[in-house]
């Protein structure tokens, strides 16, 4: 029993973080409804929403002192954000093993797993990956095809070109002209990268064991 426990808690880094320990201590007398409210608020916060109102109303309507509530919320936050959601999906039993070690009632574990494995999971992952370091991504891409009919040097030019406008996730804004030849080059390169990505996703390098 103890060896399987050791394996199950390994994903938390070997030692149970103090926030989670204090959460389990403070979960006494907490009813399911309150727990669910708090859990919902924490998930919302991880997705980037503002949940001060929900938390405030939960704190006001319950008999549990605010200090204990804050321990619970901190523990939930830690469990859900650090818990390597991807890993958890591969070792479902961990959460149940968890309940023996940190003494969270089994009902509460069910609630946790419904968050971790439910459809909020994708949104959580997307939100957390946004905060990690990355180069700006393309938020908006607008384009225009122009044909210049005549210029000061040519009465009849009839030359097409593409005007591109890119808004990036870091707020920067780029508007530039793309000559037709460069556009072809861009298109070719993007297709090439897509092909490489497809190959990469199929190759055995992805079968690296976790």
């Amino acid at each position: 029993m103890s060896s399987s426990h050791a394996k199950d808690t390994s994903f938390l880094g070997g030692r149970i973080p103090p926030e989670i320990e204090s959460m389990s201590r403070n979960l006494k007398d907490v009813d399911q409804e309150l727990f669910r409210k708090l859990l919902k608020a924490v998930v919302g916060a991880l997705e980037g929403k503002d949940c001060r109102d929900i938390l405030r109303s939960a704190a006001e309507t319950s008999l549990i002192p605010q200090e204990r509530l804050s321990h619970i919320i901190a523990g939930m936050h830690k469990l859900l954000s650090e818990s390597c959601l991807r890993f958890l999906s591969q070792t479902l039993k961990s959460l149940f093993g968890l309940s023996f070690v940190i003494r969270i009632p089994e009902d509460f574990i069910t609630d946790f797993s419904s968050v971790v494995f439910g459809n909020r999971r994708a949104a959580l992952e997307a939100a957390s990956s946004q905060k990690d370091p990355h180069l700006p991504t393309l938020e908006d891409f607008k384009w225009r095809v122009d044909v210049s009919i005549s210029t000061s040097s040519l009465a009849r030019a009839l030359q097409p070109s593409v005007l591109t406008q890119m808004k990036l996730s870091d707020g920067s804004f780029h508007r530039f002209e793309v000559p037709v030849s460069k556009f072809q080059e861009l298109r070719y390169n993007v297709a090439l990268i897509l092909k490489e990505m497809n190959d990469l996703e199929k190759r055995s390098i992805l079968k690296i064991q976790d």
Partner: protein, 198 residues
């Protein structure tokens, strides 16, 4: 076709000078001018070269300038209206350029003209132009919020040159698979538009 070269006073003056120049020297001069015609800011001849020309063609500074400017003007008009070499020759004879000089113009125009038109067509006017496309494909293994990722991500480097700056500005954009696919689909739509033009 109406004449593209009106016989103004300065044209008349220039014609007199041009007619006096040796035809071989003149031929080389015109070839050089047409080669540099597409470069807006550059002078065709450096100070030194102009001085040598003055000596070689026995023209003073004012006369040489007039000859160079008029020759360039004639060629620019030819490009602008895209007139045929024969038509150019005819029009030059109308303004009293002697036949051998007119022939020099139309010969040079016939050989170097089409290339010049192509170059000018490609000279698009824009404050910023895409000059260079580079890319890098990475496999992201982990990040601070998630371990064990294995997510491919591509970084596109766009070298954008501004009209007024020396060095191009590099814009880096990151894409995951889905984002890159969406981007590619948009590029395909643009391509469809370009295709419908031809």
């Amino acid at each position: 076709m109406t004449s593209v070269i009106k016989e103004t006073q300065s044209i008349k003056e220039a014609v007199i000078y041009i007619n006096a120049i040796d035809v071989n020297k003149f031929s080389r001069l015109i070839s050089r001018i047409i080669q540099k015609l597409h470069l807006k800011e550059e002078r065709t001849f450096s100070e030194e070269e102009e001085q040598k020309l003055q000596a070689a063609l026995s023209l003073d500074k004012h006369a040489l300038n007039l000859v160079l400017e008029t020759s360039a003007f004639i060629l620019e008009q030819a490009v602008y209206h895209n007139i045929k070499p024969a038509s150019l020759q005819q029009q030059l004879e109308v303004i009293h350029l002697n036949p051998e000089k007119a022939e020099v113009f139309s010969q040079t125009w016939a050989t170097a003209g089409p290339e010049l038109v192509e170059k000018l067509k490609r000279n698009i006017f824009a404050p910023k132009k895409l000059e260079h496309v580079g890319w890098q494909l990475n496999l992201q293994m982990a990040q601070s919020s998630q371990a064990r990722l294995k997510a491919p991500s591509a970084v596109l480097q766009l070298g954008i040159r501004s009209e007024d700056s020396e060095a191009p500005e590099n814009v880096f954009v990151e894409f995951n698979h889905q984002q890159l696919l969406e981007f590619y689909n948009k590029l395909e739509i643009v391509q469809g538009q370009l295709d419908s033009l031809t």
